[in-house]
């Protein structure tokens, strides 16, 4: 009979297996090589942001710093010249922020509302509307460039912060609606029915029942939208001017002066400054992002 009182030997070792060990070594070696390859661009740019430009030009673009300096970061932030105005990237950074934050928030809010209406409210032709909205996800941005230019000039919003934000809100709504609709479709219908019997209307049900249950997908859409709009380049270049220019568009014309010398040092620092906000967002929200995307995959 089994004796439940005496403990067995839990420290049993698995027998040595050479093939297993070899395959492990192979797997990890491959992973390390691929990992290094992936991190290389970031590492090179980061190291260059700490080197003097003359060192970069003299030695090589890829190389370990012989002398280090933080001056590049200061120049990039506050005194590098962009299209002959030597203000650094600072104003463009804040311009981006001013455009990205409202565009992200508004497109997320619209997406959530759309998702609710499409899944939980008896809406005529809901599936047709949903397909129509999500076509925008698969439409290449070049296709909508000209229509947008015309639309913005009609609205009197050409080359303005509000105009570019509007473009991103509407383009982004395609994505946010897709995300939110797929999340909310798994919300139990009974909750909405119970709220209806409890006398709550569309917006009250949305605000009191749906929104409190949506943080996982709100986080996903905010990360997605923020990163996407912040990093976006095509619309940023097309629909901006010297009065308003997002940082991604500004980086293109970054120069120290008019000498035509390539400024790799503070150029690298400026690129990294531009990359910081999405990186921060991803560091703090990344685990929610992965969790949110897989939510509802298994019940």
């Amino acid at each position: 009979m089994a004796d439940a009182q005496t403990l067995p030997d839990f420290n049993r070792k698995r027998p040595f297996n050479a093939r297993l060990l070899a395959s492990r070594v192979l797997v990890y070696a491959t992973l390390i090589v691929v990992g290094l390859f992936a991190i290389m661009p970031l590492a090179v740019i980061f190291l260059n942001s700490l080197r003097y430009n003359e060192d970069i030009l003299r030695e090589s673009f890829i190389g370990w710093p012989t002398r280090t300096t933080l001056e590049n970061w200061d120049v990039a932030w506050s005194s590098a010249c962009i299209n002959a105005s030597c203000t650094g990237v600072e104003p463009y950074f804040w311009a981006s922020m001013l455009m990205v934050v409202p565009a992200t928030m508004i497109s997320t809010a619209i997406g959530l509302l759309n998702g609710f209406a499409l899944t939980k409210w008896k809406m005529p032709f809901a599936s047709v509307v949903f397909v129509a909205i999500t076509i925008g996800v698969f439409l290449p941005p070049q296709v909508v460039l000209l229509p947008w230019a015309i639309a913005l000039s009609w609205l009197g919003l050409s080359k303005s912060l509000a105009g570019l934000a509007l473009v991103h809100i509407i383009q982004g709504t395609c994505f946010t609606t897709l995300f939110c609709r797929n999340y909310l479709i798994n919300l139990p219908d009974d909750l909405i029915k119970a709220a209806r019997i409890d006398g709550a209307g569309f917006f009250r049900t949305f605000w009191k029942i749906v929104v409190p249950l949506s943080p996982p997908i709100i986080i996903v859409t905010v990360i997605w939208q923020f990163t996407f709009i912040w990093n976006e380049f095509l619309f940023a270049v097309t629909f901006s001017s010297s009065d308003f220019r997002p940082i991604t568009a500004a980086l293109m014309s970054l120069n120290a002066d008019d000498t035509g010398v390539s400024e790799y040092g503070f150029g690298s620092a400026a690129v990294l400054i531009a990359a910081i906000p999405p990186l921060l967002i991803y560091f703090f929200g990344g685990r929610y992002f992965v969790r949110g995307l897989t939510q509802g995959a298994v019940k």
Partner: protein, 369 residues
């Protein structure tokens, strides 16, 4: 409280007719259970009563009010869902008061109503918890509290006990019945569990294929089922159905079933003279498992049936016996101490007084004369 009258209700989904000409008169304070297999339309009917689904044709009256075109919130009903549908992000208290908040009930009234309901359902200690911190039984209570607090004219229950484990289900069943006795509300209760239907209801609506098969009190449903469907659906184990030919003449009728495996003869003598009209034709005998007994009282009310034991299933209080007679496989429920060997040949007695008969063509019960 109010009565509920459903007249000529139809529901169509595309080309599918979910409900066909439903007519129900539910009295004030009555506990009515809708029962039927899945897809029979019972939940659709409940949704229509709740106002969550629109009716395709027909009218709905609560008391003297025509509520056919009113939305769910204006019908003054409350509903308990199978999934409880508690709002996960709100505390128990907020769950209970949400409806009153929406109706802008004054705060002090809300407070009093919550206190009353919490006391009634013994959930006072749970008021500040979130639904995820509650057990299944507690969630069930909160769901009922949310319904009770509004003091509606009509209560709707949509399979409220089917997510509970067996023991709790029986407890809550009793509790719901007590609650109904105490508060005397009109209740419409949907279930697929025929024991719940039998134990809880004042009257049962048996549905199948979107049609009301029978609307009657539990005893009538059990003893005088309107048709073969009701007879087979209500009761567990199910009623045995035996096709047999009616022979003889009024006052001396015999039912005979002949087959390659033997002959089953049931002399009715002067009983069940209603079968005289079926002389020479086949009728379906409906015998419940408890209509087979071990001993005859000597009256000709009991007819011996020779049986071969197939399976013996002791359930505790009874022994369930699956046996063959002629070419039929039948089920009997017998006293617990009866444990025959398998394949043994035994004699059972069929209680002629309580069996019923169905017309095989219409499947309707042949009424007794």
């Amino acid at each position: 409280m109010a009565s509920l009258t459903i007249s000529n209700a139809w529901k169509k989904y595309g080309d599918f007719l979910a409900l066909r000409d439903i007519n129900l008169d539910i009295e004030d304070g009555e506990f009515v259970v809708l029962v039927g297999p899945s897809g029979c339309g019972k939940s659709t009917l409940l949704s229509i009563i709740a106002g969550l689904e629109e009716i395709s044709y027909g009218t709905l009256n609560m008391g003297s009010r025509d509520v056919t075109d009113l939305s769910a919130k204006d019908r003054n009903i409350a509903m308990v869902f199978q999934s409880y549908a508690l709002y996960p992000t709100m505390s128990v208290r907020e769950n209970i008061t949400f409806g009153m908040e929406n109706r802008k009930t004054p705060k002090d009234q809300q407070k009093k109503a919550v206190a009353d309901v919490a006391k009634l359902l013994q959930i006072e200690a749970l008021l500040e918890r979130k639904p995820s911190q509650l057990s299944g039984g507690q969630r069930q209570r909160v769901a009922m509290g949310r319904a009770l607090v509004r003091d509606p004219q009509l209560f709707l229950f949509d399979e409220p006990l089917s997510n509970l484990d067996a023991k709790l289900r029986v407890e809550m069943r009793t509790e719901i019945k007590k609650l109904h006795k105490r508060l005397g509300q009109t209740i419409v209760y949907v279930t697929h569990d025929q024991i719940e239907a039998m134990t809880l209801s004042d009257r049962i609506v048996v549905m199948n294929g979107g049609i009301v098969q029978q609307f009657a009190d539990p005893d009538t449903i059990y003893r005088e089922p309107a048709n073969r469907f009701v007879a087979g659906f209500m009761g567990s184990p199910s009623m045995n159905f035996i096709d047999a030919v009616v022979e003889g003449e009024p006052g001396d009728i015999t039912l005979v079933r002949r087959s390659g495996d033997g002959e089953l003869t049931i002399p009715l003598k002067d009983r069940h003279n209603e079968l005289a009209a079926f002389a020479g034709r086949t009728v379906t005998i409906g015998a419940r498992p408890e209509h087979f007994v071990l001993t005859s009282t000597g009256e000709d009310e009991f007819v011996p049936i020779s049986a071969r034991v197939d399976v013996v299933e002791p359930t505790g209080p009874d022994t369930m016996l699956v046996f063959s007679s002629a070419d039929l496989s039948l089920v009997a429920v017998l006293p617990a101490n009866f444990r025959p060997e398998e394949d043994a040949r035994i004699d059972l007695f069929l209680d002629l007084e309580n069996i019923c008969f169905f017309d095989p063509e219409t499947t309707n019960r042949i009424p007794r004369t």
